[in-house]
Amino acid sequence: METLITILIGVLVTVAVYLLLSRSLIRVILGSAILSHAVHLLLMTMGGLKKGGVPLIGEDNSTFTDALPQALILTAIVISFAVTAFLLVLAYRTYKETGQDNLDALRGFEDE
């Protein structure tokens, strides 16, 4: 299971990086969203998969999966949500302001 998930992570990273390298702002943002998916899975995998029951005390199982990565992922999910939301709105504003979503046209400072 771990190996398969790890390979999945690899695929996700590949796709995400490919998207990050493109010119369109949307793709870049999508890429960053997929990157965060990948890393959440990675955190999960690193804690070990399916090594015990649901981390709820009181259910009838004696061993639990590693709860710490889950807590970390929760935090990470929220944070990446916040960042993605901000980035999205930024993209929207940028387009409204410049009429461009092509990053090649959005070079910003250059030789003035």
Binding site: L21, L49, K51, F64, L68, P69, A71, T75, A82
Partner: protein, 802 residues
């Protein structure tokens, strides 16, 4: 104690000058300032007797104790002689400047700079701690920078200031490195302490490095070849400044440094060679170039360079005394040092006087171009007299002090012949030859100053103001110096005994019988080689001066164009251009390029190290089993993710991303993470909604039409990044070194009263993370609000506060 305070007096007064200047906004402010150097001079002079007896005083203020940097002042013969020069010439220059500068100039600023310089210079010569010395050293560079650019609206002033600053500060920083190296060898920053222990370390590689760096500092400051190029440009400063900083004091700081460090480095061959060769070459180059100058000030600048080279080479010669130890053989070297110090004093007198003369000419006639001057003797008799005295002294003619030191210089150079030291061999004979040739040129330019300016025909139309004698006030200072020139010739042993001998002794603290090696200075010492050389100089010099127009052509010959100045300018220009093109090459402003850099770095460094250092090991034995439905989910995810790349519309892509998110939620279910699954589902939905909300108004995405190579590069980077992340993850799984700390959390109910372990971690064990996570969310929320509500378009788009 008083000495330490004395150094700070100029700084203190400098602080008050702007306030005083507000009250007394005219030249009378100069009189206030004048008090400072005069008092300092008197104070220092009061130490002459004690120092002559061989006593030294030392006093320490603690400054940065932890770093061993103390404000230690050390008064011995060597520092005293410099201190007297600084305060003495300083007094005269300030006196002179009171009349020289017009009231329209920013006098307040001028005197602040000047006092700053004076204090810094005193600090340099009296500091025992190398770091403190460096502090003051850089302060002199800065005040020199400010003074050169006193008329900062002139382009040439700024150019000269920048040049001098760059060169001297570069040297200074090198010197700092040298000092630090010395410190790491000996463990102390104190010069005196270093002298005592340095013998143990002379073999180290650092020692040589430190030496060259210290020399770099000295050479840049003292305008030695090839760093002399800043000095002529520094002549853009007001003439009193040139007289003070760029001939009498600051440029001698390098000489002081070399003298001060002779006991430390003196025993080394490289030290000896470097100083002697550079000095003698600078002597020649300076004098040779001085002849071609038409601007009197530039002429004096080159002459200063050449004289500095002379002193430098003498000091270098003197350093051999340390190598020779205590033997009587070293007497000639000690005498060379004596000559060097003697010439140092003499040079300050005659060069100071000459600068002031040029200043007077400039001030009264509006020009200092030799080609426009002539026949001024009748109009300006006093000025002429002073110029005559100064120039003849510089040319080394009796009865002026220059003659004495020049003779001693020749003798010292001659003694190099056949000397069996540092395997010098026959090469030693070259030194006196060069010295002699250089002296001829010296003679020639000295004559130019006197004869082309004061003799010949007077052309009133070529000068801007009718010729007349300067005001008496302006003549006081140069007259005093002229008096010294003659006075020293007749009573040389007065300063010889009271100043120079103690100074030489201060220079060689390790040699015991220094004073006995130095004979008294005599005006007449018989017809020896040195005298014949002088006579030769005069004869040949007169001839050359006579035939000046016929051989001047060699200056315009081709190789002369390839000089260091053009190299300096070209270097700056080229560096700037090169920098610009390099930076623009990689700072493209494209996000893609930056991402490429990051991932390339990641792949090269992380991937490279990973595959080479043997951490690549995979252990799959610990894997959990996979069920059929899980295969489906995972393959759906892979398919969906790859499909995103090829998605034709952005909505499809967004939905596919949503599919990924939901699938991950299912995976979380599979991995027994209910909270995560819930959160993931909700967050994914909200994110997707936001995507749709925001992208509604963005244009539909087009299929990327990238050139093939770019695509290939992108693909390559993407795949390698993916592979590296995967393999490291696999390796990490096979390499579990410790049990996780999370076992502890399984007692959540007993510890924190929660049955949901994950939420207990979030709410209690690691509540701080959660708290901050909420803050992050909050910032994002408010941030989105501001981003949308605060638009630049609403206000006027001025450049206010870019």
């Amino acid at each position: 104690m008083f000495l330490s305070i004395a150094i700070f007096i100029p700084f203190l007064i400098a602080i008050f000058i702007p306030f005083i200047y507000k009250r007394v906004p005219n030249r009378n402010i100069g009189w206030f300032v004048l008090v400072v150097p005069v008092l300092l001079f008197l104070f220092l002079a009061s130490h002459i007797p004690t120092v002559a007896e061989g006593k030294t005083t030392i006093h320490t203020f603690r400054w940065i104790e932890s770093a061993g940097i103390h404000f230690t002042t050390y008064l011995d013969g060597l520092s005293l002689i410099f201190g007297l020069l600084i305060s003495g010439v300083g007094s005269l220059v300030i006196l002179y400047s009171i009349y020289y500068l017009s009231e329209r100039e920013a006098l307040g600023r001028f005197y602040v700079y000047l006092l700053l310089f004076m204090g810094a210079m005193l600090g340099v010569v009296f500091s025992d701690n190398m770091m403190v010395l460096y502090v003051f050293w850089e302060l002199t560079s800065i005040s020199s920078f400010l003074l050169i650019a006193f008329w900062y609206h002139r382009k040439k002033s700024r150019y000269g200031a920048q040049k001098s600053m760059l060169i001297t500060v570069t040297g200074g920083i090198g010197m700092l490195a040298g000092f630090v190296m010395l410190q790491s060898l000996t463990g102390t920053f104190s010069v005196r302490e270093t002298i005592q222990v340095i013998d143990q370390y002379t073999g180290e590689g650092l020692f040589i490095a430190a030496m060259s760096l210290v020399l770099l500092g000295a050479f840049t400051k003292s305008a030695q070849f090839p760093f002399h190029i800043w000095l002529p440009d520094a002549m853009e400063a007001p003439t009193p400044v040139s007289a003070y900083l760029h001939s009498a004091t600051m440029v001698k700081a390098g000489i002081y440094l070399v003298a001060r460090f002779t006991p430390i480095f003196g025993g080394e061959k490289i030290w000896f060679y470097a100083i002697c060769c550079v000095g003698i070459f600078t002597l020649f180059l300076g004098s040779f170039n001085a002849v071609r100058q038409t601007d009197l000030k530039a002429l004096l600048a080159y002459s200063t360079i050449s004289q500095l080279g002379l002193i430098m080479s003498l000091i270098g010669l003197g350093s051999a005394a340390t190598a020779q130890g205590m033997s009587t053989q070293s007497a000639i070297f000690v005498q060379a040092t004596f000559a060097a110090l003697f010439h140092l004093v003499n040079h300050s007198t005659f060069k100071g006087a000459l600068f002031m003369v040029v200043g007077i000419l400039d001030h009264e006639l509006g020009t200092r171009d030799v080609r426009r001057l002539g026949g001024l003797m009748a109009f300006m008799p006093v000025t002429f007299t002073i110029a005559l005295i100064g120039s003849f002294s510089m040319a080394g003619l009796p009865p002026f002090n220059g003659f004495l030191s020049k003779e001693m210089f020749f003798e010292a150079m001659l003694s190099l012949r056949g000397l069996d030291l540092f395997s010098l061999g026959a090469w030693g004979a070259i030194f006196p030859v060069i010295a002699w040739v250089a002296s001829i040129f010296t003679f020639v330019y000295s004559m130019i100053i006197v004869f082309q300016t004061f003799f010949g025909e007077h052309h009133p139309e070529r000068i801007e103001r009718p010729a007349h004698e300067a005001k008496p006030g302006m003549l006081i200072a140069p007259s005093v110096l002229a008096t010294f020139i003659i006075g020293i010739f007749f009573f040389p042993n007065l300063i010889g005994d009271y100043l120079l001998r103690p100074a030489v002794k201060g220079l060689y603290p390790t040699l015991s019988n220094v004073e006995s090696m130095i004979p008294a200075i005599t005006v007449w010492h018989g017809f020896n080689t040195a005298l014949w050389m002088t006579i030769g100089v005069i004869i040949l010099g007169v001839v050359l001066y006579w035939r000046l127009h016929s051989w001047k052509g060699i200056y315009t010959a081709a190789p002369m164009r390839l000089n260091l100045d053009t190299m300096y300018n070209g270097l700056l220009l080229k560096t700037e251009e090169g920098a610009s093109s390099i930076t623009r090459f990689y700072m493209t402003g494209y996000l893609r390029d930056y991402v490429v850099y990051i991932f390339t770095f990641f792949i090269l460094i992380v991937g490279g190290v990973f595959f080479t250092n043997g951490s690549f090991s995979i252990d799959l034995s610990n894997d959990a089993p996979i069920a059929a439905n899980e295969y489906i989910i995972i393959f759906v995810m892979m398919g969906a993710s790859i499909a995103i790349i090829f998605a034709k519309s952005r909505k499809t892509a967004i939905i596919l991303n949503g599919v990924l998110g939901y699938a991950i939620a299912i995976l979380f279910v599979v991995f027994r993470a209910p909270d995560l699954a819930l959160t993931q589902i909700v967050v994914e939905t909200v994110t997707t909604a936001l995507f749709l909300l925001c992208f509604y108004f963005l244009p539909e995405w087009k299929m990327e039409k990238l050139p093939k190579p770019t695509k290939l590069v992108n693909g390559l980077i993407a795949v390698s990044a993916g592979v590296i992340v995967t393999v490291i993850a696999l390796a990490a799984q096979g390499n579990k070194l410790f049990e996780s700390v999370s076992v502890y959390f399984e007692n959540a109910y007993d510890l924190a009263g929660g049955k949901n372990i994950v939420n207990t971690i979030l709410g209690d064990f690691r509540a701080f993370d959660t708290m901050l996570e909420v803050v992050v969310l909050f910032i994002a929320g408010i941030g989105v609000f501001t981003l949308i509500k605060l638009k630049a378009g609403k206000e006027e788009r001025d450049v206010e506060d870019q």
